[in-house]
């Protein structure tokens, strides 16, 4: 049965690996620093908004790229949103694919756009998985602390 100490170590190691593998960058630290006793769930709240917003954007991008005549202006606006919010939460890998995506969009290269869309979906999915795991371990640690 894991004690608080083991959970804490797990948390530290796991978080470190997310940074090391480039999933997260320093901006995520900024989010954590903004969390305190009066805003104890800030990180989860912002990240949850990010998940919701990103899923909406990814759906819209999928539909937009399926059109016979692609509205690249609209696609660009949507990538801009996704790039912005991923940057704001420190989602480095997602942000990077958005940059490449935007370049293909500027050049109106549909194939490149479709490839990037797939990549963004993959990176987003990976990140979501990892952050949900992180939050789960944090919750477990929190529960353990309260019981001990």
């Amino acid at each position: 049965m894991e004690g608080v100490f083991q959970l804490q170590k797990q948390l530290v190691d796991y978080t470190a690996s997310l940074f090391k593998e480039g999933f997260l960058d320093d901006q995520f630290n900024q989010l954590q620093q903004l969390q305190d006793e009066s805003n104890p769930n800030f990180v989860v709240e912002v990240v949850s908004l990010f998940f919701q917003d990103s899923e909406r954007l990814l759906n819209e991008l999928t539909r937009a790229l399926e059109q016979r005549s692609v509205d690249f202006k609209r696609v660009d606006a949507q990538i801009h949103q996704l790039k912005g919010s991923s940057s704001s939460i420190g989602a480095q890998r997602v942000q990077r694919v958005c940059i490449a995506f935007r370049n293909f969009c500027d050049e109106q290269k549909i194939e490149g756009c479709i490839t990037c869309l797939e990549q963004v979906k993959q990176e987003y999915s990976l990140l979501k998985n990892k952050l949900e795991t992180l939050f789960k371990v944090q919750m477990k640690r929190g529960e353990k602390r309260r019981r001990e």
Binding site: Q27, Q30, L31, Q33, L34, D36, N39, F42, E45, V46, L49, F50, D53, A77, H80, Q81, K83, G84, S85, S87, S88, I89, G90
Partner: protein, 141 residues
């Protein structure tokens, strides 16, 4: 709780996540915050929406000490919002800060020339906001 002495900031951004982040950043730097999702809503809040004679039943609009706005917004950009604020009699003295994720010198100069207090690069960090807070205090005194 008396918020009378805290600077009141109007934060304008079309991105939901960025709005939440800027709000928290400003609150953690002891500011009262109102957010708006676009330029039109911001102007309405400032009492500059369309018919200026039509202020809501004579009540004074909430005093705003600083406006911080994103540059890239659909329909009305941060630059366009800045211009409207600087053109208005009642709001032109209020400092306006422009934020952008893109570091474009011509854009930055354009905003500064139009009277923006400063330009900040996104994503915003606590150190950026703390510095802004200091500058704002100097403006007020």
């Amino acid at each position: 709780m008396d918020n009378g002495d805290l600077p009141h900031v109007l934060a304008v951004d079309d991105n939901l996540i960025d709005r939440k982040l800027v709000e928290r950043l400003l609150k953690s730097s002891s500011c009262k915050v109102t957010t708006a999702e676009n330029g039109l809503r911001a102007l309405e809040y400032l009492g500059l929406g369309g018919d200026e004679q039509n202020t809501m039943d004579g009540t004074t609009t909430s005093k705003v000490n600083l406006i911080i706005t994103d540059y890239c917004m659909p329909e009305m950009t941060g630059y366009e919002l800045l211009k409207k604020i600087k053109e208005s009699q009642i709001m032109k003295e209020v400092p306006v800060v422009i934020m952008s994720s893109e570091n474009v010198p011509t854009r930055i100069n354009q905003c500064l020339e139009e009277g923006a207090l400063m330009f900040m690069l996104k994503p915003l960090k606590q150190s950026d906001v703390k510095k802004l807070r200091c500058d704002l205090m100097k403006c007020r005194s």
